[in-house]
C-alpha cells in the first residue's frame, strides 16, 4: 500500500484537474507534437486557452492583477504541461519574463505589460544571455546609448526560447546608469531574429540589435536590475525543474505500462528481475526529483533569502535535469526498437528533457553552483 501523502490542497487539485482537461482537449501528446510544426513552433490559440484558464496570473500578486498564488500551484500546472511535452513557452514567457515585470521599477509600464501577459494578448521573451554557459545577468556587452531623449540599443542576444512567437523582447543592456531592461517590440527597426530548432523542435532565437531605438518610457527596470533578473532566473529554474518532473513522470509511466504488456520469452518483459530493479532505480530518481522540487517550491513560497533560494533552485535543477535525461534514455532502451522510432512518442520525452536540462544551466553547472552558494553543514 502506498503512503497516503496527498499533499495537495483544494486549489492545487482544481488546477490539476483544469490542466488535465486542457491537455486532453488540446490533443494530448499528438497535439503537442503537431503544434511544433507551426511557424512559431507553438500555437497561439492554445496559448489563448491557457490564458483563459487563468494560469498566466498564478504567480503574480493580486495588486498587479494576478492570482497571488505560489510556486506550489504553478508547479502543478507546469508538470501537466511537461507530461504532454507541450511546446508552449509557459516557463520562459510567463514565469521568467513575468517575474522581471513584477519586480520592475516602472510601475505604469510594467503593469500594462503584465495585464497583456495575463490576458495572453502579448507574449514577451526575455533576451538576456549572450554567451553559452554564462548566467551572470551583468556579464553582457549589449549597450543602450542615450539618444534623442531615448536610447539606441546594440548587441546580440542568444538562447531565447520561443523567440519566433514572441511579440516583444525584454532586452537587457548596459545603459548610462548600469544594467537595465528595455521593452522592444518584435517589429522594431534594427532588430534581427534568426531561429534555430532545438532537438524537440521548439524554437531557439538569436536576436541582433543594431541601433534599435527605444523611448525613454520603455525602460522596465533600471534599479537593482541584476538582482531582479537573478531572482527571476532562479524562479524559472525551479519551474523548469517542475516541467522536467512532469516529463520524467510521464516517460516513466509510459515505460512501466509498456514493460507490463510487451511479452518476450513467453512473459511480460517486466517480469525479468534485471528490468524490475532498473525500473525501481529510475523510480527512485523520480521520487528524489519530486522531493527536491517540493523542497525548492516550499522555499520559494516562503523565503526571500537569496542564497537559500539559489541553492534550492540549483539542487532542484541539478537533480531534475539528470533524472529527466536518465529516465528519458532508459525509457527508449526499455522499449526496444519501437523506442527509436519517430512515430512513437517516447523519444519526444528524451528530447524535451534535453532541452529543459540544457536551459538555464544543466546538472553539472548547477552542482557547481550549489557548491558555491550552499554553506557546508557541520556533522
Amino acid at each position: 500500500m502506498p503512503s497516503n501523502n496527498s499533499d495537495q490542497n483544494d486549489t492545487q487539485r482544481m488546477l490539476q484537474d483544469s490542466a488535465r482537461a486542457f491537455v486532453s482537449r488540446s490533443g494530448g501528446v499528438d497535439g503537442a507534437r503537431e503544434r511544433r510544426s507551426l511557424p512559431a513552433a507553438f500555437d497561439r490559440e492554445t496559448w489563448q486557452t491557457m490564458a483563459e484558464n487563468g494560469w498566466f496570473g498564478l504567480l503574480l500578486p493580486e495588486e498587479q492583477g494576478g492570482l497571488g498564488l505560489g510556486f506550489a500551484e504553478a508547479a502543478v500546472v507546469i508538470e501537466e504541461l511537461g507530461r504532454v511535452v507541450a511546446p508552449e513557452p509557459f516557463v520562459s514567457a510567463i514565469v521568467l519574463a513575468g517575474a522581471v515585470l513584477r519586480d520592475g521599477d516602472n510601475p505604469d509600464l510594467c503593469n500594462e505589460k503584465i495585464e497583456n501577459l495575463i490576458s495572453g494578448s502579448v507574449i514577451p521573451a526575455l533576451a538576456w544571455q549572450e554567451a553559452a554557459n554564462v548566467y551572470d545577468p551583468a556579464a553582457i556587452t549589449t549597450r543602450a546609448v542615450p539618444a534623442d531623449g531615448g536610447f539606441l540599443i546594440s548587441g546580440t542576444k542568444k538562447f531565447i526560447p520561443a523567440a519566433a512567437g514572441a511579440d516583444a523582447f525584454i532586452v537587457s543592456a548596459m545603459g548610462p546608469d548600469g544594467l537595465a531592461l528595455y521593452w522592444v517590440a518584435a517589429d522594431a527597426k534594427g532588430l534581427g531574429l534568426s531561429s534555430d530548432r532545438a532537438v524537440d523542435e521548439t524554437d531557439i532565437g538569436t536576436l541582433t540589435l543594431d541601433g534599435v531605438s527605444v523611448a525613454k518610457d520603455q525602460v522596465l527596470v533600471a534599479k537593482d536590475t541584476a538582482a531582479i533578473m537573478a531572482r527571476a532566473i532562479d524562479e524559472a529554474r525551479v519551474c523548469a525543474a517542475a516541467e522536467l518532473v512532469g516529463v520524467m513522470k510521464e516517460a516513466f509511466d509510459i515505460t512501466l505500462a509498456y514493460v507490463k504488456q510487451r511479452e518476450q520469452f513467453g512473459r511480460p518483459v517486466g517480469k525479468f528481475q534485471a528490468l524490475q530493479h532498473r525500473l525501481v532505480d529510475l523510480w527512485i530518481q523520480q521520487e528524489l526529483s519530486r522531493d527536491v522540487l517540493g523542497q525548492a517550491v516550499q522555499c520559494f513560497d516562503s523565503s526571500d533569502d537569496v542564497a537559500n533560494r539559489a541553492s534550492e533552485a540549483s539542487a532542484a535543477k541539478a537533480r531534475c535535469s539528470e533524472a529527466g535525461l536518465l529516465i528519458g534514455r532508459q525509457s527508449i532502451q526499455l522499449h526496444g526498437g519501437i523506442g527509436y522510432t519517430d512515430a512513437y512518442h517516447i523519444g519526444m520525452y528524451l528530447k524535451r528533457a534535453l532541452v529543459l536540462s540544457a536551459w538555464l544551466g544543466n546538472a553539472d553547472m548547477h552542482r557547481k553552483r550549489f557548491a558555491d552558494v550552499a554553506p557546508e553543514v557541520a556533522a
Binding site: M1, P2, S3, N4, N5, D7, L256, V259, K260, G270, K271, Q273, Q276, H277, L279, V280, D281, W283, I284, E287, L288, D291, V292, G294, Q295, A315, A318, R319, D364, R367, K368, F370, A371, A374, E376, V377, A378, A379
Partner: protein
Amino acid sequence: MSETRDMNALGDDEFRAEIREWVEANYPEELRFFPRRILMDECRDWYHKLSEKGWLCPVWPKEYGGMGLDPGKFIIYTEEFERHGVARMPDQGIVMVGPLLIKYGTEKQKEHFLANIHAGNHIWCQGYSEPNAGSDLASLRTSAVLEGDEYVVNGQKIWTSLAHDASWIYMLVRTDKDAAKPQEGISFLLCDLKTPGITIRTIPNIRGEEEFCEVFLDNVRVPKENLVGEPNRGWTMAKALLGFERIFVGNPRMCSYALNRLRLLAESLDAFTDAAFTARYNKHRLDVHDLAASFERYAGILKSGGEIGSDVSFLKIWATETYQRITEEMVELAGDLGSYRDDLLLGNNKVDVMNQFLGSRPSTIYGGSNEIQRNILAKQVLGL
C-alpha cells in the same frame, strides 16, 4: 519510572529544547559519537538515567511506562539524540519486544517483560536469520515442539547481533512443518539465554569486531507461556511490527557524517584543487541533500498523522547506497593510504577511512537487503 506529562501536548520547539537540554546535561561526554555499537556494560548508567526519567521507551504507550510520543515528536526526539551523538544502546527490547508484547502479549507477559526492560535486567537480541534462511526467512527450520508445558527448541540462529551481550532472545521458530505455506507454521518465542542447551559463539566481523553471533539451540526447553500470541501466527506478527520506524533507515545522518569525513580527508590532501574530484564531491553532496528532502517528506506525512506505505523502502536504498558511494570515494581519494586498516592521521586531522568504508558495507544487507527492497518496490509500488 514514567514521564507523567503528555509530552505530545508541548509545542515542537518547546519539546525539542527540553529533550536537548536534558540529553546534554545527562549523556556521558566520553560516549558521544561512539565509534562502534556500544555494549550494555558501557552504557548502563545512561540506560538507567533514561529509564528513571521515563524517557527510555519513547513510543510505548504511557500506560506501559513509555512516553507515548506521536511520530512527529518521536522524530524530534531522535533528531536530538543523534545531534548530540548519543550511541545506539542495545535496544531490541525497547524497539521490538516491547511493541510486540504490547500488541500481542498476555497481561502476565507484559507485566513481567516490560518491567524488566525498564529496569535494564533483560537485554534482548533478535533471532530471525538462520544459516539457510536469510532473505528467504520464511524457510527457517529451527523447530519448537510442545512437550507438556514446554517447547523443546532445536536448531541454529546466525548473524544475531550482540547475542553475547544479551540475556534474552526473541525468535521465530517453526511450530508446524506441514503448514500449507511456510509462513503459516512459524511462531514467536521468547527465550532466556541462560537456558541449558544454548551455545553462543561470536563471529568476528570484517572490521574485526565481535558484533554478531551464532546461537546454537540443542533441546532447549522453553516454558510455553513464553510463546507470544497465537501459535503459527509469528510471521504475521513480525510483519505487523514493521511500523513507521522504517523511515529511520533513510535518516540522512550517516551520510552527512561520512560526507564530513570525506571533506576533511579532501582538505587534508588538498584535493579540492582537483576539478574531477570536486565534481564528484559536489555530486555526493547533492545526493545527501536530496535524501534529506525525501526524508523530510516522509517525516511530514507522519507529523500530519498520515501512514507510511511500502514506497518508503526507497529511502533505505538511497541512504545506504549513497553512504557506500561516499565511503568508496574516501578510499579512492586516499590513494596509497587507502589500504590502511587504522584511522589516518593527516596533520591534525584523524580520518576513519577504512572504518567508514567497511562499516558501510552491511547497511545494504541487513534489514532486508537492497535487492529484496527492490523486489518489494517492483512488486508493491510498480505493480510488476
